[in-house]
């Protein structure tokens, strides 16, 4: 493999991590002024800001890498000037905001994944990715605590909240499989000690999820459906609408500064 190909791999990988973060951050921001009470409105906004912040760090690094491979882009170009097929986020991040139970379960599944993922990324051979992970780790710890607390309260709250949580869990489970699967590109980077070997995280993640779900009196889904394709730009129909909204102003004024 040539050095520039390897750089291109790193760029794509970095953009993918940025895509995961911005799409989820955007979804969470849809909660603003819709939270179940004011304190929670603020908390949801803070989590959203964390993810947007992570996206900025990944895209800023991607902008530097893009310059090195001769395809100069700015941080915002990644978020605002790519189409649905070019986004490579895992699908779970683009799913609709849904009701509060749906958001809580989605966050639980993702936050526990990130806990292990970010921990591994800290020891990446790539210094910048490792530094980004070190910065993000503290926030991820807080996200996990928050998602766990909410899962316990809502899972073991009222009959209604229990039902809503179980339904959300059943509706989301099939999107968790692909987050532990890697394509050729990520495997090449794993071999170089740059990317996280996400397949190796699955057991630890499953144990964490299982413990919390059971404590919350919920049942782990047993159905076998699985939706895949995010890393190949093969998305649900939700993403296109999200991008339409997110990119509208930016694209309406080409070249403008904000």
């Amino acid at each position: 493999m040539t050095q520039s190909n390897s750089k291109q791999d790193l760029l794509t990988y970095t953009v993918r991590l940025g895509d995961d973060a911005i799409i989820l951050g955007h979804r969470l921001s849809e909660w603003v002024s819709y939270g179940p009470f004011l304190e929670e409105d603020i908390a949801l906004g803070n989590v959203s800001l964390d993810f947007i912040g992570h996206a900025q760090m990944y895209y800023t690094y991607a902008a530097t890498l893009s310059n090195e491979v001769g395809d100069k882009k700015a941080e915002d170009d990644f978020a605002y000037l790519r189409d649905e097929r070019e986004f490579q986020n895992h699908i779970i991040h683009e799913l609709p905001r849904g009701d509060f139970a749906y958001s809580v379960v989605k966050q639980l599944l993702i936050d526990l994944y990130n806990k292990h993922y970010i921990e591994e990324l800290k020891s990446s051979n790539d210094e910048t990715l490792s530094a980004i992970a070190a910065k993000a780790a503290k926030e991820v710890t807080y996200h996990c605590r928050r998602s766990k607390e909410w899962t316990l309260r809502l899972g073991d709250g009222t009959e209604e909240s229990h039902l809503k949580m179980q339904r959300a869990l059943d509706d989301l489970w099939g999107y968790t499989h692909e987050i532990f699967e890697q394509d050729e590109l990520e495997l090449r980077l794993v071999a170089q000690g740059i990317a996280v070997d996400s397949a190796s995280l699955k057991d630890k993640w499953f144990d964490d999820v299982k413990a919390i779900i059971e404590q919350a009196t919920l049942k782990l889904p047993t159905s076998e459906w699985a939706v895949r394709g995010g890393r190949a730009g093969y998305h649900t129909e939700n993403l296109g609408h999200l991008l339409t909204e997110m990119q509208f102003v930016h694209r309406s004024f080409p070249g403008a500064k904000w």
């Binding site: 911005i22 603003v32 996206a55 909204e245 004024f253 904000w258």
Partner: protein, 318 residues
């Protein structure tokens, strides 16, 4: 001497003396019922304004044109929610619960700033709101840092610190637009035109027409009159508009050297009362949005309570 030994008139005289000598009134102090009611009205209206004010700006978080702007706007709206919280808590010290205040908002018994009944139609409106609406609010809030009720005054000091950051972020948006492409400059002018006059209306009716002013001034709930605060805002905004290279929406605005202030055109008070009375573009929408979020959150709040009760029982059994 215990309070119970004093007549109502003596208590009121002592209260007024305290106010006149610039001492703060604290939650446990005796206060006239009118003072308490007046404060509850003003402070809860202030809290509701922060909360309802999240909506017109929240309307653009998902469309912010850069990641930086998205993050800053989101952080700003979070601050507004935080201000709502401080103010609800400060108002609760007067013996009313947050639930009662929210109920009053949702049934229309309590008001919020009518400026938020105006729609936000472009990204430029995020600039105009931060700069003008928050700017007008700051004029009022700086003055309220000296208000006679302790918890309100202290809340204002905290809030003012964050508000000045909000105003800067709004003005920064305007600067980028005004220095940007001709289309961006047009966007800035349009937002200025739509939000300038409603911002002036935020200070309320002329002093001569203000229902609550005289008593509020005597009790030092208000420290400066509507017209004085409005004049300050007009004077500080004029050079800012000039700096942006935008046209001033008030064609009658003129510097009056003798007064040391700008003379300005008359506000369209018919529009002010019309919007307050329900003819704004968003009056119904704002309250319905609040009710919807509140109702959709009911099962979450119920579950939290149920969980807490279960844990309490388990703890007792253990």
């Amino acid at each position: 001497m215990a309070n119970s030994d004093l007549t109502e008139a003596e208590l009121e005289a002592a209260f007024q003396e305290k106010i006149d000598s610039e001492q703060k009134i604290e939650p446990k102090d005796w206060m006239p019922e009118g003072y308490r009611k007046n404060l509850i009205r003003q402070m809860s209206q202030h809290a509701h304004s922060e909360v309802i004010g999240m909506q017109p700006e929240g309307n653009w978080i998902t469309r912010a044109p850069s990641l930086r702007r998205k993050a800053v706007l989101l952080a700003k709206v979070q601050d507004e929610a935080g201000h709502g919280l401080y103010l609800y808590s400060a108002t609760e010290t007067l013996g009313i619960s947050r639930a009662e205040m929210i109920e009053a908002l949702q049934t229309g018994a309590a008001k919020y700033a009518s400026i938020f009944n105006y729609p936000t139609q472009t990204w430029g409106d995020m600039g105009a709101i931060g700069w003008l609406v928050d700017g007008a609010a700051i004029c009022n809030q700086v003055s309220l840092q000296r208000t006679s009720y302790g918890p309100y005054a202290r809340g204002m000091i905290r809030i003012c610190k964050e508000e000045s950051f909000h105003q800067r972020q709004g003005y920064q948006i305007m600067i980028e637009l005004a220095l940007g492409t001709p289309e961006q400059k047009q966007m800035a002018q349009d937002s200025l035109n739509r939000f300038y006059w409603p911002s002036l209306m935020m200070f309320g009716p002329h002093d001569s027409d203000s229902a609550h002013s005289a008593k509020s001034m005597k009790w030092k709930i208000k420290r400066e009159t509507n017209d004085d605060l409005r004049q300050k805002f007009i004077d500080q905004t004029a050079p800012q508009i000039k700096f942006l290279g935008l046209e001033h929406p008030d064609k009658d605005l003129k510097w009056n050297a003798e007064r040391g202030h700008h003379d300005s055109g008359e506000i369209n008070w018919d529009e002010f009362y019309s919007v307050i009375n329900g003819n704004g573009h968003c009056n119904r929408q704002r309250i319905q949005h609040h009710v919807k979020a509140h109702e959709e959150g009911a099962w979450v709040r119920a579950a939290m309570l149920a969980y807490k009760e279960k844990k309490k029982k388990q703890y007792q059994v253990d």
